[in-house]
């Protein structure tokens, strides 16, 4: 990531770099199907040029991780996570799963969910 770090006097909850600088002023993800349940994972690429805030996200995604989980673990608002993940996807640091935001008309998927819920009941209860 080649953004210049600006350590201005922005008192954004004690942050040195305001969020809008980090994400280059982007306010909504370009990939509009990024949903809070969309899962991403870290691709095996060189992350040395990443800003620490972005690096934190990539590190969090060693295993598949949803946008909501990233937000919860890193204490970041969802909007910020979405935009940052969007940047990381665009630059090839993260891979993305099938978006959850497609309308569910997928019978096989529902059957799978049903079987999964029932199986768990049998095993553990």
């Amino acid at each position: 990531m080649a953004y210049d770090v600006w350590d201005g006097d922005e008192a954004d909850a004690g942050r040195l770099v305001p969020w809008y600088v980090l994400v280059n002023g982007r306010t909504t993800p370009k990939a509009s199907d990024l949903d809070l349940a969309t899962q991403v994972y870290a691709l095996p690429v060189d992350t040395r040029r990443l800003e620490p805030e972005f690096l934190e996200i990539v590190r969090q995604c060693a295993n598949w991780m949803s946008i909501a989980e990233i937000g919860a673990y890193l204490h970041l608002p969802l909007t910020i996570v979405k935009v940052m993940v969007d940047v990381l996807l665009e630059q090839g640091y993260l891979g993305v799963g099938t978006p959850a935001q497609e309308k569910i008309v997928d019978k096989r998927l529902l059957e799978m969910v049903l079987a999964g819920l029932q199986r768990e009941l049998d095993v553990r209860d």
């Binding site: 949903d35 809070l36 349940a37 969309t38 899962q39 994972y41 598949w64 949803s66 909501a68 989980e69 937000g71 919860a72 673990y73 204490h75 608002p77 969802l78 909007t79 891979g95 993305v96 799963g97 099938t98 978006p99 959850a100 935001q101 497609e102 309308k103 569910i104 008309v105 997928d106 019978k107 998927l109 529902l110 059957e111 799978m112 969910v113 049903l114 999964g116 819920l117 029932q118 768990e120 009941l121 553990r124 209860d125």
Partner: protein
Amino acid sequence: MAVDRRSVKIVVAGGFGAGKTTLVGSVSEIPPLTTEELLTQASVGIDDVTGVESKTQTTVALDFGRITISPNVVLYLFGTPGQDRFWFMWDELAQGAVGAIVLLDTRRLESSFPAIDYFERREIPFVAAVNQFNGTCAYTEEEIRSALELNADVPLVWCDARDRASSKLALIGLVRHAMSRLPVSA
């Protein structure tokens, strides 16, 4: 670069104190997490900040949990934000979701009206789940149905949100209901 990794969402709604977070916690494989969203401009004028003028940014907290269904599919359960007025969050939660569980607290049935109304209007499959955390419910299914003006095709289930098996049966009821509403060709 899209990979075959699917997320499935179920929304857990209901009035304040109906047991949404309890249900999410009892079925989730991880301790429930909380994520936050900043309140947007859309709420200006709706959000009553009289007396707290210095507060310029409000956050909406969202509790959620997860259940791994298969190596490729993870089910996320999202509790709706405590205040019903954060509709902009509901839209994101509900879009593409399997459906919703509307938890009912029989002492305050009216608190579940907004949730029922929301899912009915958008034709999102939902089940009404009577949370029996106070022992047995004093009302019959018929009484509850008529008080809520529930459509006959909306399943009404009884559950104890603190109990994993019981909560999971409510989830199973919802998935079955969602499947029954699929177009025949799908």
